[in-house]
């Protein structure tokens, strides 16, 4: 995978995460909502940095889709948390690809963001995994 391909996948993944957090964040309350809003900001900021890396690698960042098809119902808080956990766990693999395709500070950033994503997923109730990945049926 070239750096442009890898960072483009990160941009697309973060766009999906921003959408998911926007929807799910409206379905939780209290401290969970605060965490969802903080996560939303993190995903926006990561999207922005990844987009600049696409540009720096000679590519053009893809636009976000206007909407995404959610994999399941997101009506009650439990479902909302499961969605955010799934998005965060799925991002680990996307950042792992980016780490493999990059070097130095960019790779360090990808590895750090992957770790933060896995931490958020467990915070939302996902089980810990030896190789964190989205596991829709595990919730």
């Amino acid at each position: 995978m070239t750096p442009v391909e890898a960072w483009t996948a990160v941009v697309a993944g973060e766009d999906a995460a921003v959408y998911a957090y926007s929807v799910a964040g409206g379905r939780v309350r209290g401290s969970a909502q605060q965490r969802a809003l903080a996560g939303l900001e993190v995903h926006r900021s990561n999207r922005s940095r990844a987009a600049s890396l696409v540009t720096a690698s000679g590519g053009t960042p893809p636009p976000a889709a206007p909407a995404y098809e959610l994999p399941e119902e997101v009506g009650v808080p439990r479902e909302a948390k499961a969605l955010m956990a799934e998005v965060d766990n799925a991002l680990v693999a996307v950042y792992a690809d980016a780490a493999a395709a990059s070097t130095g500070e960019d790779r360090r950033w990808a590895a750090r963001v992957a770790a933060d994503s896995a931490v958020r997923a467990v915070g939302w109730g996902a089980p810990t995994q030896a190789f964190p990945t989205a596991e829709p049926s595990a919730q």
Binding site: L70, Y95, A100, A115, A118, V122, Q129, A130, P132
Partner: protein, 180 residues
């Protein structure tokens, strides 16, 4: 995960070289269009191989890999000592610790295994102290993986270390939940 049109059925996750495990992930999300057309996935395997002519210095990957596998063996020993010290705790505490221990064993094996048989220092007396010791060890392990990942001269080893470091970082909130 939110889906955007295409559903890529599965893609390969870590697996350094072709070693033991080929982990598959199926699911929507990012498998989604993010990874794009199948050709793009196929490209993963080919492009980053250093050619035989590209040798300037021998790769440090085997050394890094062995070092991390040994650190994983040390973490396993730490968990074994903790599990022994907390044997009288509620079963769910021991169950979580056993799961986390087993995940380190999966890390060790994915890194090619280790023959080291480290002995962990005896675990401290209280549950809180045992858990705090494990939290510190996981934090340090995750930071060390990110450092090794950054320095790795083999992209596939770097990819594997991202997963291992992310797993270890995610052990911290799971351990925090066990604190009395």
């Amino acid at each position: 995960m939110p889906q955007r049109v295409v559903d890529v059925e599965s893609s390969t996750i870590p697996s350094h070289q072709t070693r033991s495990a080929a982990f598959t992930r199926r699911d929507g999300l990012l498998a989604l269009a993010l990874l794009g057309p199948a050709g793009l996935l196929a490209a993963c395997t080919g492009t980053s191989e250093p050619g035989p002519d590209a040798t300037t210095e021998p790769s440090t990957a085997p050394v890094v890999e062995q070092g991390v596998a040994t650190e994983e063996a040390e973490l396993i020993a730490l968990y074994d000592a903790a599990i022994a010290a907390l044997a009288d705790s509620p079963p769910d505490v021991v169950g979580v610790l056993t799961d986390l221990r087993d995940q380190h064993a999966a890390h060790r094996d994915a890194l090619g295994g280790s023959t080291a048989e480290p002995t962990a220092p005896s675990a401290p007396g209280t549950v809180a102290a045992v858990i705090d010791g494990l939290i510190d060890a996981e934090r340090e392990a995750s930071r060390a993986r990110i450092r090794s990942c950054t320095d790795a001269d083999d992209p596939e080893l770097a990819r594997l270390l991202v997963f291992v470091g992310a797993s270890e970082a995610s052990h911290v909130p799971a351990l925090r939940d066990l604190r009395p």
